[in-house]
């Protein structure tokens, strides 16, 4: 045997040194990997606003980042929560217990996000909510372990409802999805409408999801309200708008106010049914050059233009990875603090920063759906009317019920 003791010792020493060096570089990365879990509705009502497209956006962020942080590879797992809080919470529990997932992103249905944030808090993890709307996620349900990224019901109400009341729409009938998100949106809209001198004359809470809206539209018509506010989302909103147009709601002098409308909804409904609708959005693919540039890259992958949620998933994942890199660790508490330290200014968020309640505030936009004549292409759907500055758009900390905020 040509192998003597000396060379063997030499090899062992070299191997030990290499592994020592490697572990020094990755000393702070648990399992020597940065593990991200993507949880979203991949097959149901909310699939098209985040879903597989959101996963694509997250993968784009990881790829653009270079695939690793300080030498530790970035690994993404994904799962379908099927809009069930139980399924979502159990999936995340498994990810944390068995796979040591460092951050959970995506998160669409508000009920799922609230359930998941509880699991994340119990386990000292980190979650970034991109798809959910309920403002309660960073209000009464805030935790030190999660961040809410793209939008919430407060700016939706503040942007759209205020604009509608200003235009003379001072009596409202609310069509509300009967669960956490709908209730939060309804509450926010009610306070904005009343604060601006309008009143809520009636409303219906419909089960989620609902197939047939004819009965509710008829009740809205009977209410005599000038505005029918849709505090629902996804296929519920699409169904409600379709039915309203069949029943001639707008011809009889009433107007619809869609409070949470995504790009894919307008695309599905068509401009004929949605033209002139006012809405508030956190981002629009065609709003400026850097947005367009990213959107074109996304389009090349998915053959659809991205929604604000999908863009937000890219933005939040990128910010998370930058924070991990800067902090030199994937320890959730340190990364969370680091994320709050760094301002956010990318193609998605302008004047963005993370507040102590976990709310990422950034500029929001009041938009109007174009008419078929104005639109120049399949995805040319919105006109941005005005910018709502970050500090005005979201619920002020002085009104916060979050335990983390010192009032």
């Amino acid at each position: 045997m040509t192998f003597n003791k000396k060379t063997l010792a030499c090899c062992v020493a070299a191997a030990a040194a290499t592994s020592l060096m490697a572990s020094n570089a990755q000393a702070q990365m648990s399992d020597d990997e940065v593990r991200i879990g993507y949880l979203a509705d991949m097959s149901g009502t909310y699939r098209d606003l985040a879903g597989p497209g959101g996963l694509t956006a997250m993968e784009m962020a990881v790829e653009d980042f270079g695939g690793s942080v300080n030498g530790a590879p970035i690994v993404i797992s994904s799962a379908d929560d099927r809009n069930s809080a139980d399924v979502g919470a159990n999936t995340v529990r498994g990810w944390i217990d068995e796979d040591n997932v460092d951050m959970v992103g995506g998160l669409v249905a508000s009920s799922v996000s609230i359930a998941v944030s509880n699991v994340i808090e119990e386990n000292d993890g980190l979650a970034i909510v991109s798809g959910s709307a309920a403002s309660s996620i960073t209000n009464e349900h805030c935790t030190p372990n999660h961040i809410h990224w793209v939008y919430d019901t407060y700016p939706l109400a503040n942007g759209t409802a205020k604009a509608v009341v200003d235009q003379g729409g001072d009596s409202w009938f609310m069509l509300t999805a009967d669960y956490a998100f709908g209730h939060a949106l309804e509450a926010d809209v009610t306070s904005v409408v009343e604060a601006n001198g309008g009143e809520i004359v009636g409303g219906v809470r419909h089960p989620f999801p609902t197939n047939d809206f004819s009965s509710y539209i008829l009740q809205a018509q009977g209410s005599g309200a000038k505005i029918v506010g849709l505090a629902n989302a996804g296929s519920d909103t699409v169904n409600a708008i379709t039915t309203a147009s069949q029943f001639g709601l707008t011809q009889s002098g009433q107007q619809l106010a869609g409070l949470l409308i995504f790009l894919n909804d307008v695309h599905a409904l068509g401009l004929e049914a949605t033209q002139n609708l006012l809405l508030t959005t956190g981002w629009y693919w065609d709003m400026d050059d850097q947005s367009r540039e990213w959107a074109e890259r996304y389009y090349a992958e998915e053959e659809r233009m991205p929604t604000m949620v999908q863009a937000g998933i890219y933005s939040s994942t990128m910010h998370y990875l930058k924070a991990v890199e800067a902090a030199g660790t994937d320890d959730p508490e340190t990364v969370r603090a680091q994320m709050a330290e760094m301002p956010i200014d990318d193609f998605f968020a302008r004047n963005g920063r993370i507040r102590e309640d976990g709310r990422m505030i950034h500029d929001m936009y009041l938009a109007q759906v174009k008419t078929p004549e104005e639109s120049t292409g399949e995805w040319d759907l919105y006109e941005i009317l005005s910018t709502i500055p970050a500090e005005e758009a979201y619920r002020p900390l002085s009104e916060s019920q979050c335990e983390l905020v010192q009032n």
Binding site: T45, D48, N211, S215, L218, V238, Q246, G248, L269
Partner: protein
């Protein structure tokens, strides 16, 4: 203004009418299920997917082949029905001798495959299918504004229900079908091709679902998940009416639509639950269903 339980009469009548329209869908779909179960003893969990396929066939037929609504109303049930016959001939027949549970699992699995495939291709946002010119607009009934199309749905669905009932209960072919299910060996001895009869019946039930799908296409966004939300309700309707009862399915479908419609006025939060409450009551008091034969 006259009030009924605290609701103005006009609103009450309006909700009654809309309930009837939804009930017509329930009737049409539960009728197909009842025919299939009554004659084949298959619990067809693919029924919702077949309804969805009907709507999609109408949409795609219009988009790519220029087939108009009226033609689709005739062609789509035939095409989807033929597809159903293939399912019966090559899949369901192989497990016909096994427990009902296997048929249920097989059809449920197929439904998931159909839905999943279409979700992957088209997403879930749904697409719009425009009603033909003649059925657009609305009519003022005095107490409500009823879109013409919904009125048409009610008429078309009821006509189809009556046609089916007549075919099965009042014609020679229907008599063969009923006899075949009572005693298929004896029928075969008389020279009737029972397997063919079963394939045709399954195809007919599927065609009914597809017909309902075409009717629904202009009403709701055409999306791959449109059938799954409806299917469970329709099963509840069949259970209430009594498994296998043709007339029971029609009457129960209509009345459940009305009960659901009224719940939407008095206590909207329970609108998705009320049919199941009725189902529980019926199961407790009359386990074989309102119109079912006592077991």
């Amino acid at each position: 203004m006259t009030m009924i339980f605290g609701v103005p009469l006009a609103v009450f009548l309006g909700q009654l009418t809309l309930g009837l329209v939804n009930g017509a869908f329930y009737a049409l779909l539960s009728l197909g299920l009842a025919v299939i179960f009554g004659l084949l003893k298959i619990v067809n969990f693919a029924h919702g997917a077949q309804y969805m396929l009907g709507a999609f066939a109408a949409l795609l037929g219009f988009r790519y082949l220029g087939i108009n609504y009226w033609l689709a109303l005739v062609l789509v049930p035939l095409v989807v029905g033929a597809f159903g016959m293939l399912m019966e001939r090559f899949l369901l027949r192989r497990i016909a001798h096994l427990d009902h549970l296997y048929g249920l699992l097989l059809t449920f699995g197929l439904a998931l495959i159909f839905e999943g495939t279409l979700v992957n291709i088209f997403g879930v946002s749904g697409a719009r299918y425009t009603a033909p010119e003649a059925l657009q607009g609305g009519m003022n009934l005095g107490f409500m504004f009823l879109p013409v199309y919904r009125g048409w749905v009610l008429v078309a669905a009821l006509a189809m229900c009556l046609f089916t009932w007549f075919m099965i209960e009042r014609t020679r072919l229907g008599a063969y079908l009923r006899a075949g299910t009572e005693n298929s060996q004896l029928m075969q001895a008389f020279g009737v091709n029972v397997p063919l009869l079963i394939t045709l019946t399954y195809g007919f039930g599927v065609g009914l679902a597809a017909f309902a799908g075409v009717l629904a296409a202009p009403l709701y966004p055409v999306s791959p998940t449109m059938g799954s939300s409806l299917l469970i309700v329709v099963f509840a309707v069949v259970v209430i009416g009594g498994m296998g009862s043709i007339l029971g399915a029609i009457i129960t479908g209509l009345s459940m639509g009305i009960i659901e419609g009224l719940t939407k006025v008095y206590y909207p939060e329970a609108a998705n639950t009320v049919i199941f409450l009725v189902m529980i009551l019926v199961l407790l008091l009359r386990p074989s269903g309102l119109f079912g034969k006592e077991a």
